[in-house]
Symmetry: C2
């Protein structure tokens, strides 16, 4: 454990100006590191496929972490005080514990589909917290992998990682190739492997329960809050499923809809 008292110390570069670099983690010039906050999520980053670079925290937070999880070998651990961390990170991190890791290549579609029975496919989900919540729900409700169609936000953005409770670091995901009007072709590969493709849409013509009934393998598609799935995407699926809603109400939040769908897939199999 190395104590650092100078916020300008280059060993803190991985967690420097987090608000700034996180705003554009996938752009040229963005550092693009995976950042975990708090002991539970840090422990999940440590156990993940992402190559760990360092752990940074207040001395007492590092000690508590070591007691609960142990410290990984061969990884620098930097003890900092609250002011030093706030100055380096660019804002006050009251959790006082961070870890940084390099990004890692995604699994191939082949690998991801190999043993999967339930998938979630996202299109146009641009909100990092919704993506995080979808991963949290997916992990809890037995989804084996998440596929990204066009127009989604970065699941490894710090806020997605946090809201997912670290499950973006554990549940396999992959980006489907193609543009706004071509990525849907990849769905054909899912169908060939026996997946029933279910679009979640308030305009669906089949109840969710009927839509997933009897399916051995299911891929649940959800779209952006507001516009929802594109017609292009829905046309490439087998069924348009609706969660029956009370009259005069709004559709559910996208992560909530997804959770209900994942639940129903599980229930229908039990």
């Amino acid at each position: 454990m190395i104590t650092i008292t100078d916020a300008a110390d280059e060993r803190l570069d991985d967690i420097r100006n987090l608000n700034h670099s996180d705003n554009r983690p996938d752009l040229p010039g963005g550092k693009g590191l995976v950042i975990a906050e708090g002991p539970l999520v840090v422990s999940r980053l440590v156990e993940s496929r992402f190559p760990l670079r360092c752990i940074v925290g207040f001395p007492q937070k590092l000690q508590a972490y070591e007691e609960e999880y142990g410290l990984p070998e061969g990884i620098p651990v930097y003890a900092v005080d609250r002011e030093t961390l706030a100055e380096a990170a660019g804002f006050d991190l009251h959790r006082g514990l961070l870890a940084a890791a390099d990004r890692a290549p995604e699994p191939s579609l082949e690998e991801l589909l190999a043993n999967a029975q339930t998938l979630c496919v996202l299109e146009g989900v641009g909100d990092h917290e919704n993506i995080g919540a979808i991963f949290r729900n997916a992990a809890g409700l037995g989804v084996d992998g998440v596929l990204f169609g066009n127009g989604c936000a970065d699941p490894l953005y710090r806020r997605s990682v946090r809201v997912s409770m670290g499950h973006v670091l554990r549940t396999p995901f992959a980006h489907l190739p193609g543009t706004y009007t071509t990525w849907q072709r990849s769905l054909e590969e899912l169908r060939e492997r026996g997946f029933r493709l279910v679009s979640m849409t308030p305009g669906g013509d089949t109840t969710l329960a009927k839509a997933v009934e009897g399916a051995d393998k299911v891929a649940i598609l959800v779209g952006a809050e507001g516009p929802g799935l594109t017609e292009h995407a829905m046309r490439a699926t087998d069924v348009r499923a609706v969660i029956p809603m009370a009259a005069g109400t709004d559709s559910l939040n996208v992560a909530t809809s997804a959770a209900v769908a994942f639940y129903e897939v599980q229930r229908s199999r039990s």
Copy 2:
């Protein structure tokens, strides 16, 4: 429509320093007004049981609102520019449209239960956004009323109103009398009226689907994120229901759990 250019104008007092007063809306000295933001939620406040006091917004936002919803009669409408609104409210309101209303008495338990078939009962839910999300989910998934046990945050706090998309203004709710260890006695009244009382808990011994199966009237109980329902509350219920979760994952967010439960109640009746 009256144009106000002085942020200190007392006609803007209803929306003054919103961050400050909203932090303690139910304390002595707190103004305790119900605040709606954005056209959809403002329209729901206008139609609600809460006595409307004023509408405040940028001129173009007021005009757009008038075209879509019409302006209510006999209610002052104040046009302000962005700087004036930001100075009065205490922060920049990019939505540019607000309405304020007085609080109104809650319905009696008698009134609330009269025609209800599905209820949600909250205990210790202290997060305003979770409360808002629970109301949004409740409204969409056919819940007739929400009952507050001990230790919950204020559903009429501005952030709850916003996250609920205004459904806290529409779905009836009432606070059950009593303290931390006595409020549960009110649950007996629900049972006498034929409600099956279902505790949602990760430690439940019955699947959610079995727990609600065949029940004519159901009350779903959810507790705080983290600790969940107290043993006191669960003892007063008929069944402890679990949403089957994947091994090694965390429980769902409280509003998401509630949504899944509401969905299952609806599905089991269809």
